[in-house]
């Protein structure tokens, strides 16, 4: 998965989101080992200190576990990942709702539009 960094937001928050996405989508599976900070920084073409900061936050949130001698792994706690996934979904939806409200849509109208489009989407 290529790293995509936008210019208007802090780099480390974007790194956090993208690593979370990689965990949710199974690029990094439960309990698997993460590459080194240096390798990840190089791959994302960012400063190693920034990558370090992102990983520290993910560790604080419990998604990543740091082992004293053998690097970092993804948590094996599936519930924790579900929780983080729900949180990310909530953030996305809030963002979306804010934009829709800015456009002048009422709650009912928004739901109706979502229903219409969802019907047209393949499962």
């Amino acid at each position: 998965m290529p790293w995509e960094l936008k210019p208007d937001r802090p780099i480390y928050t974007q790194l956090i989101e993208q690593i979370e996405l990689m965990i949710f989508s199974g690029v990094y599976s439960l309990g698997s080992k993460l590459p080194s900070v240096r390798d990840m920084a190089q791959e994302a073409a960012v400063n190693p200190n920034t990558m370090q900061r992102a990983l520290a936050k993910l560790e604080e949130d419990g998604l990543i576990i740091t082992h004293r001698t053998s690097g970092r792994t993804i948590t094996e706690d599936a519930n924790m990942i579900e929780e983080a996934k729900t949180k990310m979904a909530e953030r996305q939806i809030l963002d979306f709702l804010e934009k829709m409200q800015l456009m002048g849509f009422k709650q009912k109208e928004i739901l109706a539009i979502i229903n219409d489009i969802a019907k047209g989407m393949k499962e």
Binding site: D8, P10, I11, A45
Partner: protein, 232 residues
């Protein structure tokens, strides 16, 4: 964290023009720092002062606590704005020269990078394009295991693909003990790899901040902020 480069009231005047004016600055080890400013803002003068190519008119500049001189040159790898290499030399001869000059120079590193950029070590400098010459210079500078890299406009003349490779090279050489200072105005290309930026204008420091603090507080990239601060 210990400080690798320190300026205290650093001032440099050329006749009646003040190029650098009472600059106070501390740069720590293990950082990648962007020295950013418009043309004529004093970036190159500061870097030259750090390399003892100029002497300060007032104040001082210290590298690892010492004034620039033989001892500091052992730990500083400097990419000047202009080439000082002899045009008639072949790349392999220059590599030999660097090996003699600098005990921390790693020829195998240089040959690896030359190979990645498809540069023939047998070629003479004078047969190369401007961009290729710049690549060779940067390869030589990055092949040292220095504690401080001072890169004056390292990506100005090279194509975007080589630019990416050079930034990767800087990242892969990164270690916690070494600091890289990059002076440039091509900000959008390098801002993702910087720890923090120093904005300099008319010889004075106008801003020091981490890249993410700028994005956090202002909701814009360093590149956009730069264009606003230095709007003509």
């Amino acid at each position: 964290m210990s400080v690798i480069l320190e300026c205290n009231g650093l001032t440099k005047k050329f006749g009646s023009t003040t190029a650098v004016s009472a600059v106070d600055l501390k740069i720590e080890r293990g950082k990648i720092v962007g020295l950013l400013g418009p043309n004529g803002s004093g970036k190159t003068t500061i870097i030259k002062l750090a390399n003892e190519l100029l002497n300060p008119t007032g104040g001082n500049i210290l590298i690892n606590g010492k004034k620039p001189g033989i001892e500091t040159k052992k730990i500083v790898s400097y990419l000047p704005e202009k080439s000082y290499l002899n045009d008639w030399m072949r790349v392999e001869q220059i590599i030999e020269l660097f090996s003699d000059f600098y005990s921390d120079f790693k020829p195998e590193k240089a040959y690896n990078m030359l190979k990645s950029l498809n540069i023939n070590a047998n070629d003479r400098l004078k047969t190369m394009s401007k961009g290729t010459k710049e690549k060779v210079q940067l390869i030589l500078v990055m092949s040292r295991e220095a504690e401080l890299y001072l890169l004056d406009e390292p990506i100005g003349g090279v194509d975007p693909a080589a630019r990416d490779y050079i930034l990767q090279t800087i990242l892969s050489n990164y270690n916690e003990n070494a600091t890289v200072v990059i002076s440039t105005h091509l900000i959008s290309d390098i801002e993702n790899i910087l720890d923090y930026v120093v904005f300099i204008n008319q010889g004075k420091i106008v801003l020091t901040s981490s890249v993410d603090d700028i994005r956090d507080e202002k909701g814009k990239s360093v590149d956009v902020l730069f264009r606003e601060v230095f709007k003509c």
